[in-house]
Symmetry: C2
Subunit: 152 residues, 2 copies
DNA sequence: CCGGTTTGGATGACGCGTCAACCAACATCG
DNA sequence: CGATGTTGGTTGACGCGTCATCCAAACCGG
């Protein structure tokens, strides 16, 4: 069996560290400043990008790359906090539609500036265009090799 | 306020996706093949790298970059499964020492080959040396800018 | 030596993410 | 039409990670 070589190990440990700490740092900032989680933010972004602030749950899930169970749990919690509401889909009696509430819209509008600022500051601040390009290629390349998350 | 430009957005979304899906994929593989989580694996690696398979809890926590509360919870769960045991530290009456059990050693030895193979396959397979170097620089660069996780 | 602070660790509560199971509404094809 | 899938969504259980809180031992200044 071949273990990773020294360079790979170094890259791998740093990657693992970064891919846990960066989201954690963003979460803390969002939570402290706006009482939202990163996942809340992602949901609100999707909803606020549509004209009427309503998205079919199925489409929301696939846009976010979430399992339907995860989406269901999360939307339930967000609904309890008044950020979104749920309605039945018009064209499919099984379906469900997630709707952005006024409070939800207010929350993301209040949260976005500071969040974007933090992302820029923590991640993009010192990245050269060359690094950015390599990063983009690299992530896309690895993502294509990942097994598709099976819709459970 | 300046939102991210198109390149940055693309890189950012891919990054976010990858930094959740790659660990998830590894977790699934480890779980399915060896009934271990990625976190279990990390703990076992640390323990198995010492001569006697014992590490002071404090040191284990800082080696992993974990909060002490997280470590405490995790070790408790691993202890319940027989992978590690706990003992009092000899030199400090407050201290606690985490010890690798026979079952723990067997578990990591059984899990390592397939796990390493998956990491290589999913992440390093098609990475060029140039990409690897940029990735290493980039992660180190960003990590230094991250606020230190306060030892709670 | 005594009082205050720091350190090492445990615990309970709570939000998050996955898995397994379930159910009702479509779809398909005999 | 009816049997047999498939799709959209929910729920419960459980492991994970953070926060807040607590406690005892160790350290440190006067």
């Amino acid at each position: 069996m071949t273990w990773l070589n020294a360079d790979q190990q170094r890259a791998w440990r740093h990657w693992l560290l970064l891919s846990t700490r960066l989201p954690a740092a963003l979460n803390r900032q969002l939570q402290a400043d706006s009482d939202l989680s990163l996942a809340d933010f992602d949901v609100l972004v999707q909803l606020s990008e549509t004209a009427d602030g309503r998205v079919r749950a199925r489409d929301l899930g696939s846009a976010l790359g979430w399992e339907k169970s995860r989406l269901s749990h999360h939307v339930r919690r967000m609904e309890a906090r008044g950020l979104v509401s749920r309605a039945d889909a018009t064209d499919d009696a099984r379906g469900s539609t997630v709707c952005l509430t006024g409070a939800g819209r207010a929350a993301i509008e209040a949260a976005a500036p500071a969040h974007v600022h933090t992302v820029r500051e923590l991640f993009f601040a010192d990245l050269t265009p060359a690094q950015l390009q390599v990063l983009t290629e690299l992530t896309e390349q690895v993502l294509t090799r990942l097994p598709d998350p099976s819709p459970r």
